[in-house]
Amino acid sequence: MDGIVYLYVFVLAAFTGYEVISRVPVILHTPLMSGSNFIHGVVLIGAMVVMGHADPDSPLELAIGFFAVLLGAANAAGGYVVTERMLAMFKSGKKKEGE
């Protein structure tokens, strides 16, 4: 039963992603690409959970977990920084003209 509910989550999430993105203008496609890149950086929390349950006495498990958390954190932090930098550059001319 649980599996089926997850299937609904999959389907609805896919639909939501599709709907949200189909409204984004071309001008924002690059920031959008890096923004959605940032969103999947939430893999970090998954990495934290598996690392948190790794056997503290197994160097192999710890190493893989460490690697996962490191990569996840890099995905999240890097995705955020570049997206924010790009979007900060988009300004409307309205204010400028008022100067």
Binding site: V9, L44, I45, M51, Y80, S92
Partner: protein
Amino acid sequence: MMTAKWLIDLAYVGVAVVFILGLKAMSSPATARKGIVWAGWAMIVATLVTLFWPGMHNFALMIVAMVIGGSAAWWSGKQVKMTDMPQMVAIYNGMGGGAAAAIALLEFTRGEVHGGMVALLAVLGALIGSVAFSGSCVAYAKLQGIMKKAYRFPAQNQLNIGLAAVVAILGLAIATADAPGMGAIALFFVLALALGVIVTSPIGGADMPVVISLLNAFTGLAVGFEGYVLGNPALVVAGIVVGASGTLLTQLMAKAMNRPIANVLFTPITGEAQGGEAIEGSMREMGSLDAAATMRYASRVIIIPGYGMAVAGAQHKVWEMTQLLEEAGVEVVFAIHPVAGRMPGHMNVLLAEAGVPYDKIFDLEEINADFAQADVALVIGANDVVNPSARTDKSSPIFGMPILNADMAQNVIVVKRGKGTGYSGIENALFYKENCRMLYGSAQAAIGEVITHVKSMED
């Protein structure tokens, strides 16, 4: 401790909602920045509450990993130049894919997944994540200029398909085995990584943005699948939303470039010219003084920036020139083709960086009818996106792609370094037209000269 878990689950729901709203806010430049900032806070909340997940240990090492990974990425993200954005996005994306694959690897190592849907999705996520990881690294290396050549094996496509089949069968075996051996698991990951490398290696740098977008969607899917394995619906939602939106974005890009995704992956552009009719006539040169005068005394100028402006990093000069012309009473606007440059929205990002307000920037549909009323169309380092052959020449590789009607303006001035072709490697009939003049030089230098002359004309 059970209470804590419920609270964490609820917090995750909130995080997922904020992520979606954040993406939604990106549908307009006016709200986009707010959107990413919200999403950023949601990410922090998600990370913090996860520290309270019941039964966790290894905190010290975990925090070290987070600090190293996070701060390295933060620092490099702050440093990177705007023109190097695509490869930076690629590498961050690869890391997400790698993290998803590592999660699967750890779960398999600990023997926590066996049988049924869970094992199947764990393997699928591992495969996709690994491909995204190694593929993104290749994309990075290419765009960064570390890996210069496009490596092609003989019978490349057969090789790709063969390797993919081997990995898939191995994966299926692991997913259905009761207790898969570590050897098989290791081999699976190595082959999956290799698959990512050999699929992306033959693809040319110019096709890379499409590939990066596709790999971004891949990472999303991988994260979503591992989310199911971990029983974490927040990961599922975030991952699948990105998977779907990335797929759509990839399609939009491929369509705008007039190049089906299958072609990008399986018949990479090799660099040789590919047909198109020969063009008769000759190009006419123009000096920067003439160019300056033509624009200074025009009443309406439309600027068409392209890839050449990006590589020259000339956007600041272009905006300086625009402001000078506007002070002199000329109306100047920008016309952006959807695939100008090498990534979607490339020109918009660069012009935004230079400080051009986005209400001076028009896209193809908005502006194409206005060229007939323009005195000057100034083409800066653009080529394919103004090639009129796309309208008429059925043998041209860009036939059917909508183009900016620069040729309909009174005068056309083209800034480029020489007779180099554009991304598609074909001749451009526009350059031979009666009303077209070439202003040779690198964009930065050429526009710089124009600025000097315009200044000297000021009265």
